[in-house]
């Protein structure tokens, strides 16, 4: 395991990917909070013709070394032009920001593809290099990449530490922040420069096409787990680094396995897609399972509320007739018989009900619980009647509210209505029970 961090061949991709993902995920959080997550996609595609142009310059010179430098400078230049085009289209051309982004992205990528095919004819070797940036290739990274990525990540972390509060204020409520003080220009410029750098540098390992995934996924995943910006940044950073590391290891290990099982097929799993897929998988799992916002916990809460509603309705119907047979119970709660029987059995186990000679009755605990539900129902009816609702329509919403009202709301309701004794249908309202 440790050889991934120390081995002279393996360490550059590992560290490179981790640091690249760290930078991208942190800057991704900022653009996510500004509701401009797609910007990463635009920037990375705009950088492609820049890479081609940089390589072409190298090709004229026939120089091999320095191609990394030229590619990066070209990419940076073109992504700045791309951003400028979007800005102009939005402000002067009155084009919607999505449309402006798509237009820029497609045309720049088209120019890049055209240039790449020219290069293919003239300098096939250079064209191969361009391919590296299109799809990403972590395996050929060297120690120089580690240094560059580490410097960039350090820069971004420093920037976020220093400007955390102003950044938070700006992202959350730009207008107010501006009303309070003139927003320093360096803040806006630094954000953009770092965003550009993190993307432009990242395309070396993940590729133009997939880069925005690394920009968006950690932010989306992290948002599921926290409501605090500082924690959000931490979690996004950890997810970014983890997907960089895991994606890299998975790609190396799985490729080795594939070579063993299919020695003649030359199969491999490239690093870039593995990193992005790992990040996306984490985001997907977070969307499903995060405790408060995740889809499945929410589904569970909805279902358990439904079950509680049904149970409380059963309790109510038993409370009203003191004792009930299964048949009567079915008549007043329209339920699939097996689930009714199951719920009745469960409520016996939970100590709300007893059963003797096929007739169900409430235990003292169940009686208190049922009385409270009836109390809430009738209090709500009184409240609505007080508000001037017609008497016959108050019952329906009370059926819903009896399961919703909290003890605090109950107290306020009773206080506001001066503890009424009768509901609008002249039924007695059960007393508030302190024990319960």
């Amino acid at each position: 395991m440790f050889e991934y961090f120390t081995d002279p061949v393996l360490r550059a991709p590992t560290w490179g990917c981790m640091l690249m993902c760290l930078a991208a995920s942190l800057m991704g959080v900022l653009s996510f909070l500004n509701k401009r997550s797609l910007l990463g996609e635009g920037i990375s595609h705009a950088a492609y013709p820049g890479v081609v142009a940089g390589m072409a310059v190298c090709a004229i010179d026939a120089a091999d070394e320095g191609s990394l430098f030229f590619a990066l400078v070209g990419a940076l230049l073109f992504s700045i032009i791309g951003l400028w085009v979007i800005d102009r289209l939005e402000k002067k051309g009155k084009v919607h920001s999505d449309a402006a982004l798509c237009f820029m992205l497609a045309s720049f990528f088209g120019i890049g593809t055209l240039g790449a095919s020219f290069l293919q004819g003239a300098r096939p070797l250079m064209a191969q290099r361009v391919q590296i940036y299109l799809y990403g290739q972590a395996a050929t990274m060297t120690d120089i990449h580690i240094v560059i990525y580490a410097a960039l990540s350090a820069l971004i972390v420093m920037f976020l530490v220093i400007s955390y509060r102003p950044m938070q204020a700006l992202c959350f409520d730009r207008v107010y922040a501006q009303s309070l003080m003139i927003v320093p220009r360096y803040l806006t410029i630094a954000t953009f420069v770092l965003m550009l750098l993190s993307i432009v540098i990242g395309i070396r390992s993940v590729g133009v096409v997939l880069m925005s995934g690394m920009f968006v996924a950690p932010a989306v995943a992290a948002r599921q787990w926290t409501d605090r910006l500082s924690t959000l940044l931490w979690i996004a950073a950890i997810i970014g680094v983890a997907s960089g590391l895991l994606g890299n290891i998975l790609s190396v290990e799985a490729s080795q396995k594939l070579r063993i099982y299919f020695p003649h097929e030359r199969l491999s799993l490239p690093t870039g897609p593995m990193i992005v897929l790992t990040g996306s998988a984490i985001a997907f799992l977070s969307l499903l399972f995060a405790p408060r916002r995740g889809a499945i916990p929410r589904l569970v809460r909805i279902l358990s509320f439904r079950v509680r509603t049904v149970e409380e309705n059963i309790l109510k119907s038993v409370w009203k007739s003191k004792e009930i047979s299964l048949k009567d119970c079915r008549a007043c709660n329209h339920l699939w018989p097996p689930s009714l029987i199951f719920l009745l059995w469960r409520m016996q186990r939970q100590g709300w009900m007893t059963q003797a000679y096929r007739r169900y009755a409430l235990t003292p605990d169940g009686d208190r619980k049922a009385a409270r539900i009836v109390r809430l129902h009738r209090l709500w009816e009184v409240y609505l009647a007080d508000l001037g609702w017609p008497e016959e329509s108050v019952h329906r919403t009370a059926e819903e509210m009896e399961h919703i009202l909290t003890p605090e709301l109950e107290e306020r309701l009773a206080g506001q209505l001066h503890d009424p004794k009768l509901d609008p249908h002249a039924q007695p309202i059960p007393e508030h029970d302190v024990v319960c």
Binding site: I162, M181, R228
Partner: protein, 254 residues
């Protein structure tokens, strides 16, 4: 010295005039309501007063000083629609924003800032919700939160853009009570509002606006049917159509 003094203020958005040649002044220690139909430039006026919108011409002075010296003594409370309620931020962090111009180089709130934020939340009965994410607050609590943020700024002038929208009557009453207390301390409060019925009982001054100034002065003198029909009436519509047409023509859209 007047709290706010505006002379010949004209503001354009993309060739369309939003405010025409506005001149008025308001004294210290009053609550002034700003009313007018949709698109009358009420919000724009507030934004210009905090320097968010650059006027074409005109002069704005606050407490006798030019605007750029006064930024931090004005608390601006934006419309609730402009807030991203799902943003990962807690109530106490929102309130701390009111102090962020005072943080040092490292941008960290000082203990004094935290204490001030806690105190402001307390004053508005929001202490229990300090650690809540803002979408988990009720409409009235959200509005009070933004007033708390304005309070920690310790301003002389409050500019509030529709603070009563989405707020129940009880909260509305408690906000007005708080504002009256602030007024008695000598603060000046400008409120953009919608419901003309509340004007008489809530405000001392009234500013009626419809792209240009219709009326400005003590409420008894300004709140009359003549002014209201001038601000909200139909006679304006021709003017509006003509200016819209002019803007379109100049932008080459027609």
């Amino acid at each position: 010295m007047n709290a706010i003094e505006i002379e010949g203020l004209t503001i354009n958005y993309d060739q369309t005039s939003v405010l025409w040649d506005l001149s008025f002044s308001l004294p210290h220690g009053i609550i002034c309501g700003i009313a007018g139909p949709n698109g009358a430039g009420k919000s724009t006026l507030l934004k210009a007063a905090v320097g968010l919108v650059k006027p074409q011409s005109g002069r704005i002075a606050l407490l006798g000083q030019p605007l750029r010296k006064m930024r931090q003594r004005i608390a601006y409370i934006p419309q609730r629609e402009s807030i991203d309620w799902d943003f990962p931020i807690t109530a106490s962090d929102v309130v701390l924003m009111g102090r962020y111009h005072q943080f040092g180089f490292w941008g960290r709130p000082r203990p004094a800032d935290r204490a001030a934020a806690a105190c402001a939340l307390e004053q508005l009965g929001m202490s229990a919700f300090a650690d809540r994410q803002i979408s988990q607050l009720s409409g009235g609590q959200q509005q009070r939160l933004f007033i708390a943020r304005a309070l920690v700024q310790e301003p002389d002038l409050f500019l509030m853009d529709e603070p009563f929208r989405g707020v129940d009557l009880a909260t509305e009453k408690s906000i007005i009570e708080l504002l009256r207390r602030l007024k008695n301390e000598g603060k000046t409060i400008l409120i953009v509002f919608h419901d003309l019925h509340m004007a008489q009982s809530y405000f001392d001054y009234l500013l009626l606006l419809n792209r240009r100034l219709i009326a400005c002065g003590p409420i008894e003198a300004t709140l009359n049917s003549q002014n209201i029909s001038r601000a909200f009436g139909k006679s304006q519509s021709l003017f509006e159509e003509a200016t819209a047409l002019s803007a379109k023509t100049r932008l080459g859209m027609k």
